[in-house]
Symmetry: C2
Subunit: 356 residues, 2 copies
């Protein structure tokens, strides 16, 4: 971790918000997006935070692929469910509104679900699932990802690197936050490997066009494809990872009135779109929140208390490591030189003071 | 597949129902259970069908572990959600009532979810998820499984072989039906291997107490533990399979007022219990069912049309193979000699004519 620069989270939010505003995003949306981007860096998900600000979001706004002032519309046909059209807005803005709507519906009926079409890259899915936590709800956030999964029986890029996140509240303890691509790893792991100068990645992360293992991260962008969670063999569960990817595609794309992400992303005018599916379940619709909190604490204790393998110090549940990183990073977020350079460039381009 | 006996599905249902009635299950519940058991065999899930009738369900009724006449109760605290107590009834009976309740709530509000405690082994989860299909709904069925998953960082059996099933309707086409244990394979694959005389199973399916690969199916019962989907290494996604298992545990056990399956199954008086979580999403609550059906057909076509790897004839989505097996097996279900012997024994024990 040499050559890292530590940056104050509050300053990073204000800086990112200013850049987004200069690029045409309204003030409230810019601030919300900046907060969500930095929240991702805070949790250690370096692949989905401010590293993407210039290279992905600002670039796509300038190219006309992201609409900085979307007219978001919604159709509801039942108390607990709705469909939203994101009008190609920033995924953060669209996602925030859709999740807020799911939470509102869950407060009323116990459950709320919003399927979202015509959106764009929304960062880390857990950012949305976690919006449910302060309201004592279970949050669900699914999103389509780039089309880079190898489909069992096929070669090359066929299905979405679709993502599943679920957040469950606890009281006092660390919340349970699962956030997983349905591939063995997310494509962004290759960006991180390149930024940190890694020369090889583990075998099993990617294959080339012919299906042979690809371990050089430099080759990924041009010809890599990602095996589903469970790998490429039927015996190791390839159909499970692929099945989960298709399920996310159905809930995000088909149920929201779009078409399959695998078709959508091959059409030039819709390339780089994303569809989402957000949901919330009110704990109190099932049982008193106090009882739930107690049972959750009990569950965590059971898993933590399992016998440890040789050399293992602790057993962790989804979200624990990220929570600990956040506690540390609230005092400062380490960013690598490449990310810092991209932020300096944005400052220059938009005439914003670089004060990080 | 030598030594298989082909049995008429209708006769098999009537025979199984008679046995269940003789064991004390009321007529309607016995018939429903028999139909669901045979439906599982019809779809080729040989590990979860009538092979379990004597060895699991009847045995546990006789031992007092399953209550043949449960008093099922329900508490609801919101329009879309509820909690059910299964009173240790047959999982099939409890599961059918809970899924029916989820569907009823989804008809009213668009979404319905029922978390179920104090139930027992309910067979294949897809049997319940598929109950949503004729009603143009997406069906969700989660259940805890036996405690046999190795938890990352631990050794031996620590977490549940918890199961996720989701069924999505199509019109005319084959429905999408995902049904997967959160382990690389379900424990029942070892039963099937033993019944069919297989001497080894693929490496990666199980490990022994010390974490070393276990490939002899005869050793599984005594000392096997199952890696999560994604295997045992962080690089291959072990935390994803484990995370999904814990998520299912939370929704089935914690949200339903039980305790974690990992603790529950270690207590002598609750061993062999199961908790479930059933859900339904009404398509029409999101969009017109016609549009959904068209988009689903389009999606299936996209995946089917992907380039094929050398030697591969077709690409299939979740549920397609099972659907084809069902079309064949409607004319007769092949059962192996061991299963036939167990059915003959049940006939003798309960004084029921063996007419298969």
């Amino acid at each position: 971790m040499a050559n890292m620069v530590t940056v104050d989270p509050g300053k990073l939010i204000r800086f990112s918000a200013k850049i987004l505003q200069k690029a045409g995003v309204p003030e409230e949306d810019a601030e919300r997006t900046a907060r969500m981007l930095v929240a991702t860096d805070l949790r250690g998900i370096d692949s989905h935070g401010v590293a993407h600000l210039g290279s992905l979001y600002i670039k796509r706004i300038k190219e006309g692929l992201i609409n900085p002032k979307p007219h978001i519309t919604m159709v509801s046909r039942a108390g607990a469910t709705a469909v939203m059209d994101g009008d190609r807005g920033l995924g953060f803005v669209v996602g925030y509104h859709a999740m807020t709507e799911a939470l509102k519906r869950a407060r009323e009926t116990g459950a709320g679900f919003v399927s979202v079409r015509n959106s764009t890259h929304c960062g880390a899915a857990s950012t949305y699932a976690m919006l449910a936590l302060p309201q004592n709800m279970i949050g669900i956030a699914l999103t389509t990802g780039g089309r880079a999964m190898v489909v069992p029986g096929s070669v090359g890029r066929g299905a979405g690197i679709n993502v599943i996140s679920v957040a469950v509240p606890t009281r006092g303890d660390v919340p349970f936050v699962l956030d997983m691509a349905t591939t063995v790893v997310a494509a962004s792991k290759f960006e991180v490997a390149l930024r940190s100068g890694q020369e090889t990645v583990p075998e099993g992360w990617a294959v080339d066009k012919t299906g042979k293992p690809l371990t050089d991260p430099k080759r990924y962008a041009a010809e890599g494809a990602l095996p589903p969670l469970g790998g490429l063999l039927q015996e190791t569960g390839t159909y499970k990872g692929f099945g989960l990817s298709v399920l996310v595609d159905i809930l995000c794309s088909i149920l929201g009135g779009s078409i399959s992400i695998s078709e959508l992303l091959t059409q030039p005018d819709t390339a780089l779109r994303a569809n989402h599916f957000f949901g919330a379940l009110k704990i109190d619709g099932f049982m008193p929140t106090d009882d739930f909190a107690k049972a959750m604490a009990g569950m965590v204790k059971v898993y933590h208390g399992l016998p440890k393998a040789t050399g293992v110090e602790r057993i962790t549940l989804a979200g624990e490591i990220e929570h600990e990183i956040e506690m540390q990073r609230r005092r400062g977020i380490p960013l690598d030189q490449q990310v810092i350079a991209s932020l300096r460039e944005l400052a220059k381009e938009f005439g914003v003071e670089y004060d990080l």
